[in-house]
Amino acid sequence: MADMIEIRGLNKYFGDLHVLKDINLSVKKGEKLVVIGPSGSGKSTLIRCINYLEEPTTGEVVIDGTALTKKNHLEMARKYSSMVFQQFNLYPNMTVLGNLTLAPIKLQKKSKEEANKAAMAALERVGLAQKAGEYPQNLSGGQQQRVAIARAMCTKQPIILFDEPTSALDPEMIQEVLDVMIELAQDNITMICVTHEMNFAKQVADRVIFMDDGQILEEGTPEHFFTNPQNPRCKDFLNKILH
């Protein structure tokens, strides 16, 4: 399989703070990659570099053979990637349906009927078709995140980035969101997911990477992380989140 994403020599500074240190990483087409690590390890910054929400200080991010630049990143986002945020970031002034159809209508120039149809299919998949006319603030956190995932599916990009999608949720709502993500993982899309949910990693991930202090310290299959992690910091981290 060809590489969908290739990250070469990526460094990111926030002022004097060195957040990402010479990251090199390739992700294959259709691969499901889970990124774990303690907070402040740079994992969110890493996936935010993949859609240029953060601009790399040095190094490059290549998507399907094209390097991201200041000029092309919006066009590349339209074509290749969508994102699911920790805080959902649904548009509160629009209905659920409006949230799902805004980009297809305005950016992909789909007709309203076409966009509505695709949106309803996506809502059906996340089990929220009956909420199409509702406003986000009237939904539970879990429902909002499922809508956000449907919004990401609707635009049909080949990459979906998940930035700690369940971290802001009440415990009883985490599973409903994970179930949707697990189901979505059946599709041939490339998924990169920053999460602490190791059970999710076990079920869908082709590969897991562990980050700390701006570096990738260990990578392998989920199996490897459960049974035989090598790096002491990684062991320590897994001990904390698995118990």
Partner: protein
């Protein structure tokens, strides 16, 4: 002297010489509409400027706002009155100073003045929208301008409508500054009446007429404030949402 206020004859005369008041009232309304249009357009532009990443645009907005908020409106209006014709003469290359109508001075005066306040209202409105909204829009591939147009600005409406109406209300009252330059507005006509007849009824009548415009605006502010705190109700989208249950 005050017993004159209760003199029925004086009231009778006042009520029978309302033509001047109505003319002034109509003129004031025209100045309000033009001034409001100017201040809304300019204020929105300056408000957006103050939230952009461009330092130059932010500086332009800052200087404008500070200048107009920290100098008195009557001084500004006197300045337009005296300097405006000469500025126009220079700009147009005319032989003599170009007279500015009272309407133009009034609309310009309150328009430019309130644009500064409206700019601040817009700025706070935009800043009240969480950063994640811009990020969500950009992650979908919207440009900054599109993100503002489709996502950010529509969200500010609820927050800014009450203070915006408040500005409209103040703008109405501030048009009375035109009386200082013999502007033909409501206050000017009321003052004329009082100087002619010596009846204070003229000022009371002016108050009543200003009140007639402003009080509904004040009620609107209250209603908008209340509404902005309510949760939105689910929308009925034909063909998509289930039909609402019909009352039996």
């Amino acid at each position: 002297m005050l017993e004159g206020l209760f003199d029925p004859r004086r009231w009778e005369i006042t009520l029978s010489s309302m033509d001047g008041f109505w003319n002034g009232f109509a003129f004031t309304l025209q100045v309000v509409i033009a001034g409001l249009a100017l201040s809304l357009v300019l204020g929105t532009i300056l408000g957006v400027f103050s939230t952009t990443r461009s330092r130059v645009l932010r500086a332009i907005s800052r200087v404008y706002v500070e200048f107009f908020q920290n100098t008195p409106l009557p001084v500004q209006v006197f300045f337009y009155y005296m300097a405006g014709p000469r500025v126009l003469q220079a700009v147009l290359g005319a032989a003599s100073p170009v007279r500015l109508s009272a309407f133009a001075i009034g609309a310009l005066g309150v328009g430019l003045y309130h644009a500064a306040y409206i700019s601040e209202v817009i700025r706070t409105g935009i800043e009240s929208v969480p950063r994640g909204q811009m990020e969500a829009a950009q992650s979908q591939g919207f440009t900054r301008a599109q993100s503002y147009a489709y996502v950010i600005l529509p969200q500010t409406f609820k927050v800014i409508l009450p203070p915006l109406c408040n500005q409209a209300l103040n703008l109405v009252k501030n048009t009375s500054v035109l009386a200082l330059i013999a502007g033909g507005d409501l206050m000017y006509n009321a003052d004329n009446f009082v100087s002619t007849y010596g009846y204070l009824q003229g000022y009371i009548m002016a108050c009543v007429l200003y009140f007639v415009i402003c009080f509904p605006l004040a009620l609107l502010v209250q209603w908008l404030e209340k509404r902005s705190k309510e949760r939105p109700r689910a929308k009925n989208i034909p063909g998509i949402t289930p039909e609402p249950a019909k009352e039996a």
